[in-house]
């Protein structure tokens, strides 16, 4: 059984058909790229996969379970985590707390335990700190654990967002333009990090990206979207040589 199976997904905003007949199958452990020109509907697909938009038609299966139109929080609990194109951190909280919020559902103690500081509070918080620092160290962010998230440099904010997503222990990680705004050096570091987290966390990754170098360097498979429809789909090298794709990207 594939990890993610999307059948004939479509969504309309008023009269506008933003995404139509979108099909996608991702196997466990794959690193999959979703590319396409601006306005092709890539982020809209992410929004449907994470329940932020309710699809007008079609179905989404994660690990064989139907998650179509479920609430965003429940989809995350089912195993989908994401980052955003315009970074959405909890800006007024520390780097450490951002990750601890991601760990929210993996650790449990009640509101009353927190208010009255019962022994379980201290034990759980200690474990959470440890786990969060572990995650941060993957990105070299552990030394900045006490910094306010909004005070981090741009590239580090993107990495923190990935760390926060990983903290929810996802099966499928969606990255929306992780390299946006980065210089070539930072992009190369990011490619290594993405490869590393796939190996270390055993997570399947679907990413949206404009940077062709990044895409061709790490993605095994690609789907190209154009005007809300799938233009081409398959192994990276095949897709990038598809004349239709070249035409869409470079014009005639």
């Amino acid at each position: 059984m594939s990890l993610l199976e999307v059948n004939n997904l479509g969504i309309s905003f008023g009269g506008l058909r933003a995404v139509d007949e979108f099909n996608l199958t991702i196997e466990r452990g794959e690193l999959y790229g979703l590319i396409g020109p601006n306005g092709a509907g890539k982020t809209t697909v992410f929004n449907m996969l994470t329940g932020i938009y309710k699809p007008t038609d079609g179905a989404i299966f994660l690990d064989g379970k139907d998650i179509t139109g479920k609430k965003t929080a429940d989809i995350n609990k089912a195993g989908v985590a994401r980052t955003f194109q315009n970074i959405r951190l909890f800006g007024d909280q520390s780097v450490l707390d951002n990750v601890k919020i991601g760990l929210h559902n993996s650790f449990d103690y009640g509101t009353a335990t927190g208010i009255f500081r019962l022994p379980k509070y201290f034990a759980t918080e200690k474990e959470m700190d440890k786990k969060a620092l572990e995650l941060l160290s993957v990105f070299g962010l552990d030394s900045m654990a006490d910094v306010l998230a909004s005070n981090l440099p741009y590239g580090k904010q993107r990495e923190l967002e990935i760390a926060r997503a990983l903290a929810t222990n996802p099966k499928l990680l969606l990255l929306d333009e992780p390299a946006a705004g980065m210089n070539p050096n930072e992009t190369r570091d990011l490619m290594n990090t993405i490869a590393l987290i796939r190996k270390e966390f055993g997570v399947t990754i679907l990413l949206i990206e404009h940077d062709m170098k990044l895409v061709s360097g790490i993605c095994e498979k690609l789907t190209v979207l154009n005007f809300g429809r799938v233009l081409s789909q398959g192994r990276t090298s095949d897709v990038l040589n598809d004349p239709e794709v070249i035409k869409a990207y470079l014009g005639e």
């Binding site: 995350n76 909890f90 800006g91 500081r117």
Partner: protein, 359 residues
Amino acid sequence: MNLYKKLNKSTQKLVRTVAVLIVLFIVVSIMDSTGNLTSLMKGLLVPVCAYSLVAVGLNLCVGYLGELSLGHAGFMCVGAFTSALFSRAFQEVIPDVPRFILALILGTIMAALFGFLIAIPVLRLLGDYLAIVTLAFGEIIKNVINVLYVGVDSKGVHFSMKDQMSLNMDFDGKMLINGPQGITGTPRQSTFLIAMLLLILALIVTHNFVHSRTGRAVMAIRDNQIAAETVGLPVTKYKLVAFTLSAAIAGVGGVLYAHNINSLTATTNNFGYNMSIMILVYVVLGGIGNFSGSVIAAVVLTMLPELLRGLSTYRMLIYSIVLIALMLFNWAPGILKWREAHGLSAAAIMGRFKKKEVQ
């Protein structure tokens, strides 16, 4: 001292605030016993604590949930009337101490319940709508209490929403709530000690709450609701929890307030819109999200006009100017530029405080 240093910064601040409150309590008690306290000041001790409590509750809502409530006087009102009704009804039946404890618990729970019920529809709304609905709620509460007539006699409890006559009570009956005249004869059990203890308790509870798993989730929702949903937080649940706790604390303030006065009525000034605004001024002036600040602002702003008698006519006018000026000071681009140029930017001010802490 070592133990104190081991605590993190926010806990240190809580410990300092509590220490200051205890010292303040001791000083005021000594002044009282040596006859150095005017009766005016004495009369203000419990109300100040009550206002502080409501301000702490409102600050939880404004600062951590990120929603403006203009109805916290309503929750205070619910706490006040529930507890006063209970105390009056069981005045001859239950001994003083357990009765007050029960009244306190009941008033708090009722305020929490109202907070919960009003939060279910309200928290689905966006910012400004939420403010106006909480305001509407406060007005409804005040309005309904003013037409409530409850009395008790040998035949049982009588209830009406028209007037005292329609209760048809026996001659020996006792009025519990008498419409616009409210509740009279509530036992005056709120002492300064109890008020102080409850205030300290509320400060500890709110501090622990915001630094817990739930508190972090609440702040995450405030900072970015969509991101909070994508990391699996049940947004509605935590908004409800925070709002309910905030209402409950306001309710405690109401209980204190009710058991400090002989005649409890619901007017615009004590439980209406004006009170909600006054509490909001404490929260804004003390610093949004800063619980100790709310208490300081409540104490200073209540005591100051009473000390400088001439000022009291201008009090409300000054409050309004303070609100506007503070918002402009924090947000207006021109003023921000001026502050930057004169080393008064937020970062610079914070930096100065940090240096002081090191020394």
